[in-house]
Symmetry: C2
């Protein structure tokens, strides 16, 4: 597995006429080597797989990483890299654009090799999930769904936002998630009009929309989903209309998924539906994003998304409408592109539930 | 508060002959504006405080940020910045070195202004904590200590590492922490010889060292501490010797703290004590690090630490000895530099406890 991935990288290195590639993104390192620690880097050349980490991860690296020559860093990373590049006679070194300017500047000052910035070499491979990755993602979804269903009876008027978030997190961990995929969002009433509100001490009230946005983890892979519940109360018909508009937009987007189209076409499907219903100005974010070793990764499903949809991609579809003061609705599913179209991975119902 | 901080930044901008400074580090943004969201940037000029965030954080920014002109980004950050720099007639723009190479490259391609990388402008201010910050840190410590004491009776042979970590996390949240300061470490027996081991399904056994490394949060500020318990069992006298060596090194380091010395002198105090006892090769990491809005921030207390110790600094002192196969010990306290010397902020006992 890891080996096949490295072979692909080496092929790209060849295409791009690089003598070596420096990999610094920790998720890319995990993808290529299986290493789950939080510090390290890789150098890949035509015939070498070099793995570096520091003292703290020595034993962990030895246990997790096979097929790579392991070196323990001595705390002077730039010097170590400079020495190696010279020893390996690398004339053109690719590096990932996600390194900090600071690190780039240090390398530039000390290296004789040409530094060639590279965009998304590993990220592009990561877009297409293999069978094993899809299994992990499904497990992450299953854990998240179980956690939600366990907590759901408590999502009702009188419960505090923060308490709900805490309970979901507990349930995720009980089901084996090392951590929630991100800080869980529980946003009710007015707070739900902020797409990224943080759980507050506010109690859920009658008439509130309650947005729950959460995700699980399994084998380092994440899931990401959102459900919105409506508390019975005033102004019900307007709120039902908003909910159904979002749900219809979500459906339109899912159905629009086809191999070969651009991701912006999926975004347009959702956005047009919301615009036609008169809520266009209240949907300010993109329609979705890839999910894998990162909660947000390629492809980006937004109005600027020009990536082509391919079998094996896993991404979210999550339109929303957020009306200041009144509140917001978001419904988020995860889909896998399979046999040229969307397979829904999220199993939870999307039907409107009005809680008394 | 925020205002005084911005005045200091503006003074530095003047010294460095910049027409403006682009701030992108999210913790620096929080420090200067009070904004607790996760996306945004600042531009500070001689007479303007400009704050930018995206649509998702509109209402949150309006609630949290005062004294700054708030603009909502439209998704095209580089274009927005380029336009502004032109409009404000900025000729020399400082930027934080922590931006990615990718973002730097985009700015460089599109800006007419000179781009001047800046190191630690805000980070240097953040090293010295004010009264309010120290209160928050003390609260974060108090919550973490309470969580540990609540779980401690369960740290005994038969308990699983992951269960202990989970319980501490639950207790932290119960005490009001939004999140643990970092993934809690519970490492027993052989695992404790890896300074950054992740909690496993391993059960604690007789004779194990058990390292617990955890931290709390309050108002966005963190705490960070480590305790090591010893389970009664074989080879006790060797293990006691290791523990006492670490504890002695810790004490030596704390006592060595004086205003004006370099942080490497503190590191040397701990390291010498461990070396003299014959364990020098088993202490591979630095002695400590600043703690505040980041769990790891300036100053760095290591053998290369050349920063001067100042009143108002808050940092950890955390020597350790890690013997492969046998296990490891780390004891970590947080100190505040006050009246020219160390005041211990961590209250938990450091005396060796042997659990039967």
């Amino acid at each position: 597995m890891t080996n096949e991935r490295t072979i692909n990288i080496r092929r790209i290195i060849g295409f791009r006429k690089l003598d070596g590639l420096l990999i610094t993104n920790i998720k890319n390192i995990r993808y290529l080597t299986g290493f789950t620690g939080s510090s390290g880097f890789l150098i890949i050349t035509k015939n070498k797989n070099l793995f570096f980490t520091d003292f703290r991860y020595k034993e962990q690296a030895e246990a997790e990483v096979t097929g790579w020559e392991i070196t323990i860093e001595n705390g002077r990373r730039t010097k170590l890299i400079t020495g190696l590049i010279r020893k390996l006679a690398i004339k053109r070194l690719g590096f990932e654009q996600s390194i900090t300017y600071e690190f780039y500047d240090l390398l530039r000052a000390k290296l004789s090799a040409v530094l060639a910035p590279q965009k998304n070499i590993v990220e592009n491979l990561r877009k297409i999930k293999d069978k094993e990755e899809i299994e992990s993602i499904k497990k992450a979804i299953e854990r998240a769904e179980g956690a939600f269903l366990a907590v759901k009876p408590g999502i009702r008027p009188g419960a505090r936002e923060r308490y709900i978030a805490l309970k979901i997190e507990e349930q995720l961990k009980k089901r084996g998630c090392k951590c929630p995929a991100f800080d869980i969002i529980t946003a009710s009433g007015k707070n739900s009009s902020m797409p990224h509100a943080r759980p507050s001490e506010k109690k859920i009230e009658r008439g509130d929309f309650v947005i729950i946005d959460w995700g699980g983890e399994a084998d380092g892979y994440y899931s990401d989903m959102t459900r919105t519940l409506l508390m019975n109360g005033k102004g019900l018909s307007d709120k039902i209309r908003i909910y159904e508009t979002v749900n219809n937009a979500r459906k339109k987007a899912v159905v629009s998924v086809k191999e070969g189209i651009k991701t912006q076409d999926i975004d347009a499907a959702a956005r047009d539906a919301i615009r036609k219903a008169g809520y266009g100005e209240f949907f300010g974010h993109g329609t979705g994003h890839g999910v894998g070793l990162d909660v947000h990764e390629h492809p980006r499903v937004s109005w600027t998304g020009s990536e082509r949809v391919r079998n094996g991609m896993v991404f979210t579809v999550e339109p929303g409408i957020y009306v200041p003061e009144l509140g917001g609705v978001r419904i988020e599913d995860m889909i896998l592109v399979k046999n040229g179209k969307a397979e829904l991975l999220t199993g939870l119902s999307r039907d409107l539930e009005i809680i008394n």
